[in-house]
């Protein structure tokens, strides 16, 4: 009997001690949202940027940009502050903070980008395309460029915020022309003007037409005084980003540097009230207008009878040098 009790008790204790062994972490679940930013993150970046920008705009003080506005966007805004302080009739450009679309990538390396398209700021103005860049994992996303959409242009459908758009290299061969070739050709088109052979490679856009129109007027004015007008246009490939569109095309976000040199002979240039605050030094016989433009160029997917087209572009002056 005693032996039976001992056996029963031992069995009970053994069974009672049969709590399941600790779980083993062996299965790694797949990530639900592959994008580098989910909606709440993108919203936080955008809201933070416009909070900073509103404060800086109110004081017209670039020191308040803190860590949210940088690069060409900061240079352009600083120039706008300088003009607005000197010419009250020239306020800083209206940058709407309400977005109708946010484009995120699924980038796994740095630098990374975030793009957004605003609601139209006014009935007579087109939406604004913004570009933020994160240089490293420790850096915040900073607003580096913006440009109004070309009237009539349509942004392509982009992958949703869950998966994000595939970042493409500049030499991507899945589209024709490659993003690098498309940008090089477009810059060459801007350099050569309406008579360029590259004109036929792109859909008409008001940005290029306005650039050519101004060039014609200024070149004629300069030549009338024995001077000259020269546009020097350079793409900034290091700061250019490309995203794959939903249909297999490529959306190129490209900053472009333009230096427009205007010279006269036997005369002294006099700048307008709007331009004068941007002049560093004194105007003599030659001045150079420095621009940091931003162009969003769409390369359609293969097989479509459609030319590469500029979706958004803006001619931003940042300084004038003698």
């Amino acid at each position: 009997m005693r032996r039976t009790v001992v056996v029963a008790t031992t069995t009970a204790l053994f069974l009672a001690g049969c709590a399941a062994a600790p779980p083993q972490a062996t299965v790694t679940p797949s990530l639900e949202a592959q994008a580098s930013l989910i909606e709440s993150q993108a919203t936080a970046v955008i809201d933070s940027t416009f909070a900073v920008l509103d404060a800086a705009d109110a004081a017209k003080n670039q020191d308040l940009f803190v860590s949210r506005v940088a690069g060409n966007a900061a240079l352009v805004r600083v120039a706008e502050y300088a003009v607005a302080k000197a010419v009250p009739e020239e306020p800083v450009s209206d940058l709407p903070s309400q977005m109708q679309g946010v484009y995120v990538s699924r980038s796994e390396s740095w630098p990374r980008m975030l793009a957004a398209v605003s609601e139209p700021p006014a009935d007579d103005l087109t939406p604004v395309v913004y570009l933020w860049v994160q240089e490293s994992v420790d850096d915040p996303y900073r607003l580096v460029s913006w440009a109004h959409m070309i009237p009539g242009a349509v942004l392509p459908a982009m992958p949703g915020e869950v998966n994000g758009a595939e970042p493409l290299p500049l030499g991507e061969v899945g589209v024709d022309p490659s993003p690098r070739k498309a940008l090089e050709d477009y810059v060459e088109y801007l350099r050569q003007g309406t008579d360029s052979d590259f004109a036929a490679n792109f859909a008409d856009d008001s940005y290029a037409q306005q650039l050519f129109s101004a060039r014609g007027v200024l070149a004629q004015a300069a030549s009338g005084t024995g001077g000259a007008y020269v546009d020097t246009i350079q793409p900034d490939f290091a700061s250019t980003f490309v995203l794959s569109t939903s249909d297999g095309g490529a959306l190129i976000f490209a900053p472009i540097d333009i230096a427009s040199s205007f010279s006269v002979k036997d005369a002294t240039l006099k700048l307008s009230a709007r331009d004068a605050p941007l002049l560093s030094g004194a105007a003599t016989e030659q001045v150079t207008y420095n621009y940091r433009d931003f162009v969003v160029l769409l390369v359609p997917p293969p097989g479509q009878e459609q030319l590469p087209a500029v979706i958004a572009a803006e001619h931003h002056i940042i300084s004038i040098t003698p």
Binding site: T4, V5, A8, T9, T11, A12, L13, L15, A16, G17, C18, A19, A20, P22, P23, Q24, A25, T26, V27, T28, P29, S30, L31, E32, A33, S36, L37, I38, S40, Q41, A44, V45, S67, E108, Q134, V137, D138, D139, P140, Y141
Partner: protein
């Protein structure tokens, strides 16, 4: 083997079952278990494979100052973690202990000696007294430098979800998105205190209650059998039998009442006579 013997054996078996069940019930580990670890890094990390364990309920991390918790894409979290000493919780060794891995980062102090060319030999002797005034690692200097200000962990744009607490942060792990890292850090860059994870472990105890109740039933049965063997119930049986006989009228030989059902039963049942053939002819 008589019925009584069988019942006694069943009772003994039931008693054993009852004892075993009660002992098992007392020895059963609790379903809720809290596993704790002491941390000596400013950051603790749980990977997606650990967070996916269905048993996990809540996580709590303590520190002397503020504590922040974040989730991030694995790739982003790993890129961020490169700069910081961190404890990685990789799973359970036992229910009382985690398996961990520690990654230590040694960051050069900004006040380290400059690599500029050394002064001439003649300057060495002159520089000696000045060395006394140079910053030192004396206790006074340490105490004079409170570490209340926030440590710069860089941008928080990579974090998908954020929690914060003063001295302690607690997170329900069931709400975590699958596939993400959970990174917890102290806000002042100091070491964290403890990590606690509560879990709902599976315990094989569903058999204990049935065992106890069946044991109770069998023990009661056996007890009755034993009692019946000990107590002489024959006088009681005799009284019951005589009472039963007395109540039975058959045993007394009395005649049934005329027309009663008993009389009809004793006479045998009778069926009514029906001439089926005759009824068929009439139709």
């Amino acid at each position: 083997m008589t019925l009584r013997t069988t019942a006694v054996i069943a009772g003994a078996l039931g008693l054993l079952m009852l004892i075993a069940g009660l002992i098992a019930q007392a020895a059963t580990p609790a379903h809720a278990v809290v596993t704790e670890a002491t941390l000596d890094t400013p950051v603790v990390v749980l990977g997606p494979e650990v967070l996916a364990l269905p048993e996990l309920q809540r996580l709590a991390v303590t520190a002397d100052g503020g504590v922040e918790a974040h989730t991030a894409r694995p790739l982003d979290a790993e890129a961020w973690l490169v700069r910081y000493s961190a404890t990685y919780i990789t799973g359970y060794a036992t229910w009382d202990e985690f398996t961990t891995r520690t990654a230590s980062r040694i960051v050069a102090d900004s006040a380290s000696p400059s690599p500029s060319p050394s002064p001439s030999p003649s300057a060495t002797a002159e520089a000696t007294p000045a060395a006394e005034a140079s910053p030192s690692a004396s206790p006074e200097a340490t105490e004079a430098a409170p570490t209340e200000e926030s440590f710069d962990y860089g941008s928080g744009d990579l974090w998908r979800h954020n929690w914060a607490g003063e001295g302690r942060v607690s997170i329900a792990l069931a709400a975590m998105s699958p596939g993400e890292y959970l990174v917890v850090n102290s806000t002042d860059g100091g070491n964290l205190g403890t990590l606690e994870i509560s879990a709902d472990r599976q315990v094989n105890d569903a058999w204990i209650s049935p065992l106890i109740w069946i044991g109770v039933a069998l023990a009661v049965l056996g007890l009755i059998a034993v009692l019946s063997a000990i107590i002489d119930v024959r006088p009681l049986q005799e009284r019951v039998e005589s009472w039963t006989t007395k109540r039975s009228r058959i045993a007394t030989g009395e005649d049934a009442k005329a027309g009663s059902r008993r009389e009809r039963r004793l006479a045998g049942s009778s069926l009514p006579d029906i001439d089926l053939e005759q009824k068929g002819d009439e139709s």
